[in-house]
């Protein structure tokens, strides 16, 4: 008996003018699951994420959060309902301190009394306790990414959408980022992670979904998906017949 997925997208179709960017995508994330999304440029990964997050409205299809239909719900409300998001290029509120940045997130998590404690907890979990009072713009790249995660964590999400956060890190920094994400997973937060840096991604997820030209072409264990000829063809083009 499968439990209800925390996030489900059914039959998502999206066109931009004459271009079909998402062509009937079905996608579900179980509670506490960690799913990675890969695919070449233009596959529709970011569009799918935008539809899930609510910043883009699909032409057809449904999005359900914990069984509740949120297709027509806008991004800010979806955030309050439990979807968090971390962006590719971290853009903290530079003039504000790290703590204040996280506070912005925790204020939308519901419950007036819990706002401060939640923010502090998010900071600790993401390893930012020692820089809490520093101005956000003084942080280096890794800490900025952690701040993104802390801010999203402070909104008390059931599921976190990560948009290409793996870029620009050294091997050691990537390890630290994966540790932070592991901490979030331990709290039962589900994860959907779009990524181009595949070798980092496969260490942080248990399932991989590959997309190409608006459709899902593979779905399964990370190492199997990355060996799938269709997936490799999607990135590198078809094998030349000699």
């Amino acid at each position: 008996m499968a439990a209800e997925p925390v996030l489900a997208a059914v039959g998502i179709r999206k066109r931009f003018g004459a271009l079909t960017v998402l062509d009937g995508v079905d996608f579900a994330v179980p509670v506490g699951g960690a799913v990675g999304i890969v695919g070449p440029n233009g596959a529709g990964k970011t569009t799918l994420l935008n539809v899930l997050a609510g910043s883009l409205r699909a032409d057809n299809g449904r999005v359900e959060l914990n069984g509740r239909d949120v297709t027509g719900t806008r991004a800010a409300k979806r955030c309050r309902l439990g979807i968090g998001r971390a962006f590719q290029i971290p853009r903290p509120f530079g003039d504000m301190t790290v703590f204040e940045n996280v506070l912005v997130g925790s204020s939308s998590g519901g419950g007036r009394r819990a706002v401060y404690p939640r923010a502090i907890e998010a900071l600790d979990l993401c390893g930012l306790g020692d820089v809490a009072n520093r101005r956000a713009e003084s942080l280096g790249l890794l800490r900025r990414k952690r701040l993104e995660l802390a801010r999203a964590l402070a909104t008390a999400p059931d599921i976190l959408l990560l948009d290409e956060i793996g870029g620009g890190l050294t091997d050691a920094e990537a390890d630290e980022l994966l540790e932070t994400i592991a901490v979030l997973k331990e709290r039962g937060i589900a994860i959907v992670w779009i990524e181009h840096i595949v070798h980092v991604l496969v260490r942080g997820v248990t399932r991989l979904v590959a997309m190409d030209q608006g459709a899902i072409i593979a779905d399964g264990a990370p190492d199997e998906v990355m060996r799938d000829a269709r997936v490799i063809d999607a990135y590198l083009g078809r094998q030349a017949t000699s």
Partner: protein
């Protein structure tokens, strides 16, 4: 004879290190293919060679001269031309005007407006058409023609097949093949591995700004490239 030498080049994009410790050489008459996933640093590398992006460390040596500090327009006068990602034509100007603007470099060579129209006959009837109104393939031909107007010794092509239908891509690559036959040295970024290997003599794969694979196009296997591309051990087709 080495035409281009990139030595320990590094380049940043804001806080991100887009290119790290890149070192390689290109000999005169060679065609080098640059492959790698999105965000691997290929475009940044080409732009750094062309002078459009300031490196954070390392050197670029062209035709025996250190051009690392040289602004882009001077590099064009020395013989480097870039066909940028996305074509970047001057949309409000006609095809012919786009070509003529590039003629400012005043370099000796065979390329004139008429030569370009002979090489790309599809552009002939479009001389007076505004560039923004052209189809993808026509824009790509114009962009390549525009770069050729500078009579380059080294031509840098950044994803010339992007957004084009397969038959159009074939036409573009036919003209690239003719350029290669004519002796132009080329470095090209290409997503389609088969095409890249078909036209290049050497291939380099980048991952997160680093050079992770380098070899002759004839001997490098798809498996090797796949492994280097994703950074995964044992990823095979």
């Amino acid at each position: 004879m080495t035409l281009l030498s990139v030595e320990n080049l590094g380049a940043r994009h804001g806080l991100l290190q887009a290119v790290r410790e890149m070192s390689f050489e290109v000999s005169e008459g060679e065609t080098l293919a640059l492959v790698g996933a999105n965000g691997a640093g290929k475009t940044t590398l080409l732009r750094a060679i062309a002078g459009a992006h300031r490196p954070s460390e390392g050197r670029v040596v062209f035709d025996g001269q250190d051009i690392t500090a040289m602004p882009a327009y001077n590099r064009v006068r020395r013989g480097i031309a870039l066909v940028p990602e996305g074509r970047k034509l001057f949309g409000h100007m006609t095809v012919e005007e786009n070509l003529r603007v590039a003629g400012a470099a005043h370099r000796e060579g065979r390329w004139t407006v008429d030569e370009v129209f002979d090489t790309f006959p599809l552009l002939q009837p479009l001389r007076g058409r505004k560039a923004a109104l052209l189809s993808g393939g026509e824009q790509q031909a114009t962009a390549i023609g525009r770069a050729l107007m500078t009579n380059p010794k080294l031509l840098l092509l950044d994803e010339v097949s992007l957004g084009l239908a397969p038959n159009v891509v074939q036409t573009v690559y036919d003209s690239v093949a003719r350029l290669i036959e004519g002796g132009t040295t080329i470095v090209l970024v290409e997503q389609d591995l088969a095409r890249a290997l078909a036209v290049a003599s050497r291939v380099i794969c980048m991952l997160e700004g680093r050079l992770v694979l380098e070899g002759a196009a004839s001997s490098v296997t798809r498996e090797q490239v796949t492994e280097a591309y994703f950074g995964l051990r044992g990823a095979a087709a």
